[in-house]
Symmetry: C2
Subunit: 340 residues, 2 copies
Amino acid sequence: MTIYDIAKQAGVSASTVSRVINRKPGISEATRRKVQKLLEENNYTPDVTARGLVMQSSWTVGILIEDIRVSLHTDSVYIIEQELMEHGYTCITLSTGRSLEKKLDFIRLLEQRRVEGVIMIGSMFGEEENTDGRFRREVASHLGTTPIVLVNGELKLPNVWCIISDEERGTEESVAYLIRKQRKRISYLTDVDTPSNHLKRRGYFSGCMKYAPDMPTQLYQAPGSDTNPTDSVARGREAAKEMCRLFPDTDAILCSTDMMAIGCMQGLKDIGKNIPGDIAVMGVDNALFGQLLQPTLTTLDNKMSECSRNAARMLLDALDGREPSRKIIIPTEIIERDSA
Amino acid sequence: MTIYDIAKQAGVSASTVSRVINRKPGISEATRRKVQKLLEENNYTPDVTARGLVMQSSWTVGILIEDIRVSLHTDSVYIIEQELMEHGYTCITLSTGRSLEKKLDFIRLLEQRRVEGVIMIGSMFGEEENTDGRFRREVASHLGTTPIVLVNGELKLPNVWCIISDEERGTEESVAYLIRKQRKRISYLTDVDTPSNHLKRRGYFSGCMKYAPDMPTQLYQAPGSDTNPTDSVARGREAAKEMCRLFPDTDAILCSTDMMAIGCMQGLKDIGKNIPGDIAVMGVDNALFGQLLQPTLTTLDNKMSECSRNAARMLLDALDGREPSRKIIIPTEIIERDSA
DNA sequence: CTGTTAGCGCATTCAC
DNA sequence: GTGAATGCGCTAACAG
C-alpha cells in the first residue's frame, strides 16, 4: 500500500496524498477528508525508510554498549531510549562485547543505517593515552559528521560530546570514608582493564596517599575478561579468598564494581569472615541488589542514571543545533549502608 | 558519498560500482580493482536504507518487550539480538510498558520501519479469552504479513508462531515440591494481572487440589502495576507482612516471580520470621540474584533463556521459509536451594 | 488548490 | 564487460 495506490483510489495525485499525510496547508477540506478516509480504510502507514531517503534524515540513533546484561547499562539504555523516543527517534541498541573489532563493526553498521546520532556508554569507547588511536580514527572516518555523546569516556573529536562520572574523585573519597570508619588496612579489588577502572584505581592510590600516607597500598586485580553479572560475581568471590591470603591483615576491601563487591561478600562469608566486623566491603555503582543483601552494601553511586539522562538531552540538543557543553562532569555520592 | 561519486572518480558508471560492491560476476579484474580501491580510499559505506527500498527488504527485526529493566527480559533480548545479528539482522528493541495504547503505537512504529520480523516477549502480548481482541486485530492489520514469534503468549494468527514456558505445570509441581518438604499451609503471592500470572495462579490451585486437597488455598494479590525490579521487590516486601497478618498459620509462600520472592524474604526478615524455618519462600524465574541472597532462593526456572534462543531460531526459520512448528512448549525445572 | 516533474541512493533489466 | 534507463516510496519545487 503506497501513496500511489491511495492516490488512484481517491482520484488525485500522489503529492496531494503526501500533503494530507503530512498535514500541509493548501488543500481543500473536501479532498483532505476524502483522502483521509481512504488512508484509514486501507490502514495505510508511510514507509519512514523511503521518507528518510528523500528527507535525508532517518530519525534513528544508535546506542553502543558493551553488554546490555549489566544492570547499570540496562538502566542507562532504558532511560536514553525513553527520552529519545519522546522526541521521535528510534534507537538501535548494540551490545559490542569487549573486542575492538566488534565495536568497529558496529560503528560501520550504524553508518550504513545512516543514524543521526550515537550514544556510547562506557569508558571503553573513549581514548586513553596508551591506545594506538585506531578507534578514534575509525569513528572520525565513519561517523565524523554524526553527533556523538560519550558516557563515561572521552574522545577528542569535533562531533563528540562527553559526560563523565567523577569516579576517580569518588574512589578517593571512598578511601577517606573508610578511614573515617576506623579502617587501617584498605585494599583494592579490581578486574578488567578499562579506562574507568584505571581511574578508580588511581583514585584509590591518591586517596591512600592523601588520607593515610603511612598505610601500605594493597591492590589485587582479578583475572578474567567478561563483565556480565554472573562472571563478575564469580570473580569477586574467588578474589576475596585470594586477597585474604595475600593481605591477611586487610580490614576493608574497596571493589571497583558492586557486582564484584557482591561476589566479594560471598567469598568472605565462604571463609567465615564477618562483614563489616572483620572486613568492610564497599562497591561502586549503587546497583539495586546492593540493598537486598545481608548486610546491605555500602557503595559509591556513580550517578549513571543521571549521566544517561543528560547524555540523551545533550544529543537532542546537538541534533537541534543547540550546542550543548562539550564536557560535563557529574559528582558521585557515597551511599552509606551496612557493609562498611 | 554515493555510488555516483565513486563512479565519476573511477570513470565508470554507477551500475559498475554497484556490481563490484555486491561482488557480482562479469566485471574485468582491472576495473574491479580500480573501483575497489576508490571505495576504500573514500571510506564508502552503502546506504542500507536505500538498498532496502529497492530490494524490498530492511534486514531489520523488531523486539517488543514490556520493560527491558526486568533482568529476565534483558537476558532474553541479549540472546535474541546476538542470534539475529549473526544472521545479518539489526534489531529495534522497544520497551512498551504496560499500556495497550503504547503497545499499539509500537506495532505501528515497527510497521513504518518495514521490519521483516517481530519477536514479542511476555504474556501481555498474547490474547486471552477475556480480551476484546483489539490487540490481535491491530497486529493482524498492521503486521498481518510479517512473521512474528511470541514468547510466553499465544496469538491465533496465520503469521504468528508461539513458544511458551509451561509455567502452569511448573507451579503445580512447585506446590508438590513444597508439600514433599513437609509444608502444611502453602499460600500464594502474585501481583500484576498478566496472562502468565493467571496461569501460575491456576497452577497453584490445581497443585493444591491434586496434592493437598484438604489444605485451604490462600491467595494474596499485591496491589500495584509497575513491574520494574525496584517496585516488584518493594511490593513483595509489603505483601509478606500483609500475608502474615491474613494467614498467620502459613508456612510457605510461593511467589509469582523471583523479584517478588526476594522482596518477600526481606519483608519476612523485617518481622523476625526465619526462612525457611518458620516460612519457606519460593519464586519463579531463576534470576541470578536468587543465588546471592542469604538464604539462597529456591525457584522455578521457567527456561526463558532457552525460550528466547528458540524464538530467534524460529523467526529465522520463518524468515527463510523453513516453516517451523507453530507452537512449542518448554518444560520448567525446580532449582532447589535453601529458602524452601 | 492541485498535478507534473525531479530526485533521494541504490540494484536491476536490457541494450550495446 | 559495461552503460543507460527504470523504479523502489516518498517529498518538494514549480507550474498552472
